[in-house]
């Protein structure tokens, strides 16, 4: 178990290094000089050169990467061009809001997804199964930014039940677990849960169908075990994979939240990315993406190790 965890960690390190290289190169992928967005148009050649030296852009790329990585490892993601504040602080403020939204959405998706998946897997080819598979297809095919708009149209514009944008009353930028803030998170979280719901219900259906077809289930029934107890065995066998899929979905939601956060003006990392892109604030863009990608890599590692702890048969080579 511990050996496996160490092995996975050793495997993840080069991937994490690769991720940092991609994020570093993002700034250099941008057309023109990385500095064009902050320099005044009439800057003289000498001023440009001074800026280039100040930001370290005059050094060869591998050296720039080395210096940048060293700073990143010490928690320094550079300064935002737009606000002048450290990127690390900007990201830290936003990531909490995104994490709460993505977690609640994952839980909702997991709840409904496992329910539909179990029903469909138990009553294969029944009307309920068809219905569950329609729901899961709808869940994975719907553009969630549009679903968000539809939710706003129905629950805010037409019914007036829930607020359409923001994280809390009076433009509150920090979400707190109270009733008033709960009203604000409901629409974005429900919208965001559509995709994990579809994927989890599909996975659970396949798992349950597969488990029910195995010999041990027949043996349990043959020895006279009650259906409720058989169900417990099915759950135990389906749980590791279902939980792993749920964990990965959390990572996907966190990384892909920009569209939903834009629709609902949710003050999270997606909102930060949006600002970074339109103000051409490349350090902010780079830092936010690096944090989100590292989070995704770490989550993958945790899910992998936990899954193998729950079910030692599942170990990736």
């Amino acid at each position: 178990m511990l050996l496996y965890a160490v092995k996975r960690l050793l495997y993840v390190l080069p991937v994490a290094l690769g991720v940092s290289i991609v994020c570093f190169l993002l700034v250099h992928l941008a057309p023109g000089d990385p500095l064009t967005s902050i320099l005044p148009i009439d800057a003289t050649a000498q001023q440009q050169q001074e800026m280039r030296i100040a930001y370290g852009f005059d050094k060869p790329l591998p050296l720039q990467y080395g210096i940048w990585l060293w700073k990143v490892l010490h928690g320094d993601l550079g300064r935002s061009i737009a606000t002048g504040r450290p990127v690390a602080i900007e990201v830290a403020n936003a990531v909490g809001n995104s994490l709460i939204l993505a977690s609640i959405a994952t839980l909702i998706g997991f709840g409904f997804g496992t329910f539909f998946g179990f029903v469909a897997g138990y009553f294969r080819n029944s009307l309920l199964d068809r219905l569950a598979s329609v729901i899961s297809i709808l869940g994975v095919s719907v553009p969630n930014y549009w679903l968000g708009m539809v939710m706003v149209i129905v629950f805010s514009a037409l019914l007036g039940w829930l607020p359409s944008t923001g994280a809390g009353p009076n433009g509150s930028a920090h979400w707190r677990p109270d009733l008033e803030h709960l009203r604000f998170i409901l629409l974005p979280a429900l919208t965001m849960s559509a995709i994990p719901m579809g994927i989890i219900s599909r996975t659970v259906r396949a798992l349950v169908a597969d488990i029910l077809d195995q010999d041990f289930v027949q043996a349990l029934r043959a020895k006279g075990m009650r259906e409720g107890a058989v169900f417990r065995h099915v759950v135990r066998n389906a749980a590791p994979t279902a939980l792993a899929v749920m964990g990965l979905q959390l990572g996907y939601l966190l990384g892909g939240s920009i569209l939903i956060e834009t629709v609902f003006a949710w003050p999270g990392t997606g909102f930060l990315l949006n600002t970074a892109i339109f103000q051409r604030d490349l350090p902010l863009l780079q830092g936010t993406i690096l944090v989100l990608a590292f989070f995704f890599v770490a989550l993958n590692l945790i899910v992998d190790v936990l899954q193998s702890a729950l079910d030692p048969r599942i170990q990736r080579g």
Binding site: G18, V22, L26, L29, V152, G255, G256, I289, F296
Partner: protein, 298 residues
């Protein structure tokens, strides 16, 4: 019955041709008998044909608006699907919008199919450290959720149709290459490939005849399943302002500009998204049908 030959009392029925129907013929037969896949195909074809022949459908000008006729409701005289925030006919723009939306959604998958399957097949066929290096690079791209990678790339490259297509192509190449690598590795270890090698077939011949014939099917099916994702992502980029620029009609962009009308004309505002949804679900259902018809597992 006409084929039956009678010799006295003995009736000899000719044996059916050994090869029977070809693989592709049987795939098409199965597909045609799948009502869901056929309905999905019909929707896709309708949208594609309408987009191609839009100028001949007697529609209004997709760019000409009227300040006096802004945000008309669905069913308003002369505006069957209402009008947008600049008074342009919605029906016209929805049909014309299919042009850019489809091109920007399908092109990345096509490009990634060529580049990704070549990369995966060649890497798997060469094997050894080359394969390992390629797969490790692919692992790095898998460490980004695809939406994040698409937005990171097009955010850095800047807004524009070409940049959006380039970003999405880069997002899909590793995904297709990984599938291509997996199926090629399986195939190259099969006995018939070994037999071909022993009987003196050259590397290129083996790849062309024995490997490609067995791996392209599964890769193709996987690629078609990506079209739905690609449509949602490319319209999503335009929705964020990273793809098509106004005033060009594109579903994602239209959805974005109509957000201002959410309270005044909610139904009209939701229309472009419904088009994205319809197209994406049709591609998904058709891809599912194709997978079943081609008997590709996973």
């Amino acid at each position: 019955m006409a084929d039956t030959i009678t010799f006295g009392k003995v009736t000899a029925v000719p044996i059916a041709p050994v090869r029977g129907k070809g693989y592709w013929a049987s795939v098409i037969t199965r597909l045609v008998h799948d009502p869901v896949a056929m309905a999905a195909l019909a929707v896709i074809l309708t949208i594609v044909l309408a987009a191609i022949f839009a100028p001949y459908l007697g529609l209004a000008d997709p760019y000409r608006g009227s300040i006096l006729r802004r945000l008309r409701p669905i069913g308003f005289t002369g505006y069957p699907f209402g009008s947008d925030e600049l008074g342009r006919d919605m029906l016209t723009r929805l049909i014309y919008g299919g042009r850019l939306s489809l091109v920007m959604g399908v092109t990345p998958v096509l490009l990634a199919f060529f580049v990704g399957s070549t990369t995966g097949i060649v890497a798997a066929y060469i094997g050894g450290w080359v394969n390992m290096v390629v797969m490790r690079v692919i692992d790095v791209f898998f460490a980004f959720p695809s939406v994040l990678l698409a937005i990171a790339l097009s955010g850095a490259l800047g807004a524009g149709i070409v940049n959006s297509i380039v970003s999405l192509t880069i997002v899909f190449i590793p995904q297709i290459a990984r599938i291509a690598e997996a199926v090629t590795t399986q195939t190259r270890n099969r006995d018939f490939v070994e037999a071909a090698r022993i009987s003196g077939a050259g590397t290129l011949t083996i790849i062309r005849v024995h490997v490609l014939g067995n791996v392209l099917g599964p890769i193709f099916v996987y690629a078609t399943s990506l079209i739905s994702v690609s449509m949602i992502l490319s319209s999503g980029l335009s929705f964020l302002g990273l793809g098509v620029k106004p005033p060009d009609p594109e579903w994602g962009l239209m959805l974005n500009t109509l957000r201002t009308a959410i309270y005044s004309q909610p139904l009209v505002a939701a229309l472009p998204g419904a088009m994205i949804f319809m197209t994406s679900i049709s591609f998904n259902l058709f891809s599912d049908g194709l997978r079943t018809a081609m008997e590709v597992r996973q």
